[in-house]
Amino acid sequence: MNRSLRPLLATVVIFLIAYAAAVFQFPGLLSTRVLGNFLTDNAFLGIAAVGMTFVIISGGIDLSVGAVIGFTGVLVAVLITWLGWHPLAAFAAAFVVAAAFGAAMGLVIHYLEVPPFIVTLAGMFLARGGASVITQDSVPIDHPFYSAISSLYWRLPGGGRLSFVGLLMVAVFVVGAIVAHRTKFGSYVYALGGNATSASLMGVPVARTTVQIYTLSSVLACLAGIVFSLYTSAGYPLAAVGVELDAIGAVVIGGTLLTGGYGFVFGTFVGVMLLGLVQTYIIFDGTLSSWWTKIVIGFLLFLFIVLQRLVFAASARGDRVAEKA
């Protein structure tokens, strides 16, 4: 088997074992309702995590994701509720703002050679601060179009619901996987994360790719923000605090290397589902403190970092053996 697929396989196996163990204890976990909830409840996190996967594969990091989700929610809510815009117009405006925001971060990262950590940290403060300056309260969105999409779902046998936002997340993952593994832009992203210098020597347009990566991440965070506002029918400046860290966690658990150059979009999907499973298990149990979610995620993260080290050390040895032979 291809060695490079091992971390992905490990994630999938751990998810299946964990799910089976959880179902063994609470048979109710194996219902279409729970499976539908996995998609719906984690839709915003999943969409943001797709963008984060690209950023991390390119060797960067984007800390502004949660704040962009919060800002988008507030912007959309204010445009619709206070100014009477149609939701679609508000979405378009939010996408333009987010794309400009992401592009600006990409430009600063590339041309001023500032580490992405610092630039996106500044972006996080800007977006969160901006949202809180617009309003401190939760602004409800009451528009027939909004309630139409947020209550759009297909009933599954067994009482579950396959919601529009859940399907949207799946679609974003599918498109993300195609872009990452089947397009020129995708191969540039991997090349950049592998080694930026050799990538530029090989003719990868580093400046353009960097700007595109951060634009993509912010645009997907904006989409996640729209999904979040559909989820809660409101815009709230303190929404989605810390989601960027959950997204990074999902990406790493999904087998992507934090140092860049290696990873899978599908792995991130399994990572998001694993986070959702942990939360759902704790709710089903009902006696554990919900902070155990964080402990389990911390443990999983640690496990995967160690696992990656071992797999890559083993494959490096394997390569040397192959050379000798």
């Binding site: 499976l35 719906t40 939760s138 902070w291």
Partner: protein, 321 residues
């Protein structure tokens, strides 16, 4: 396709089995709590747990860590488990319609605790909350009854500017003293509901009022600010509780210690037992379909030195305040 069908069948069977198992036990209730940001909320959580235990209710508890998305997930999780009822202390007022509609479709009654939501009233069975205006009124009435027709200049420590409890507790107090021309509020400032800010602002009041000689009473929107202010009054060389009367709201353990020591005079309790009335309403509803009133108001009880403050302290200290 056939695999999908089998999966769905298995899933359906599993839900049927699990709900059958639950019906055999006592009532299972899911409780989605906001978090544990304040001592009062921690006390509410522990009182809810002990209330559930004493009634033989199987309580599923989920702490949302101040995040609405976690609360929505928890409620969806409760619905998926097929609980008999759901309690929610909503972190914000908006955005509950979809998930509460799901609960309604699954015939699971929802009870709101201590905060309301923006949305149609038919989404929940009832809501249990205190009347904050009444809390202010009870505090004001105590002062009116205590000072009788003596002149009394009051300083007020407000809660966080613009917060609902601050607005309502101010309004209630003003209503209660409106009929007494001898009682006037001479200074009113925010102490942000915190002990340190309460002390700081009280120091300012004392300086501004000639060392505190003109002040007859302090009204604080919560006990924490009162406890801070008591320290400031002592530092200024005055006796809190006699030179300056102290009345506040909440009923946290520390204020009972102060009342027992004669340093505070009265507190109006914001009871952490919101779940008791909620469980009662749910039990009646489950038994014969009795629909409770839409808004259940908890009692705003006044405690003074005559109400065994030491014993009240002992009863509360283990609750997590």
């Amino acid at each position: 396709m056939s695999i999908l069908k089998k999966l769905a069948l298995a899933a359906g069977l599993a839900t049927a089995l699990s709900s059958a198992a639950m019906a055999a036990d006592g009532m299972t209730v899911g409780f989605s709590q906001i978090g544990s940001e304040s001592g009062w909320r921690a006390a509410e959580t522990s009182v809810t747990k002990s209330q559930a235990e004493s009634r033989g209710i199987n309580l599923k508890f989920a702490d949302a860590q101040q995040k609405q998305e976690n609360q929505i997930k928890a409620i969806r999780g409760f619905i998926a488990q097929g609980v008999d009822a759901i309690l929610v202390a909503p972190v914000v007022a908006t955005g509950w319609e979809d998930v509460l509609n799901e609960a309604k479709e699954a015939n699971i009654p929802v009870v709101l605790l201590d905060r309301g939501i923006d949305g149609p009233e038919d989404l929940y069975l009832t809501s249990v909350a205190s009347d904050q205006v009444k809390e202010g009124r009870v505090a004001g009435q105590w002062l009116v009854d205590t000072v009788k027709d003596k002149d009394c200049k009051v300083v007020e420590l407000q809660g966080t500017v613009g917060s609902t409890p601050a607005i309502n507790r101010k309004k209630g107090f003003e209503e209660a003293i409106a009929g007494s021309k001898n009682i006037t509020i001479i200074r009113s400032q925010t102490g942000d509901f915190t002990r340190s800010k309460g002390k700081e602002v009280m120091e300012g009041f004392l300086k501004a009022e000639n060392g505190g000689k003109g002040i007859c009473a302090l009204y604080a929107h919560n006990d924490d600010m009162a406890v801070g202010a008591i320290q400031a009054i002592k530092d200024a060389g005055l006796k809190p509780g006699s030179d300056i009367l102290v009345v506040s709201i909440d009923g946290v353990p520390d204020i009972f210690t102060a009342i027992a020591a004669g340093e505070a005079n009265a507190t109006v309790e914001l009871t952490p037992n919101m779940a008791g009335p909620a469980f009662d309403a749910l039990a009646a509803y489950k038994k014969d379909g009795t629909v409770p009133p839409k808004f259940i108001i908890t009692e705003s009880k006044l405690y003074t030195a005559a109400d065994d403050p030491k014993g009240e302290y002992e009863r509360r200290k283990g609750l997590g305040y």
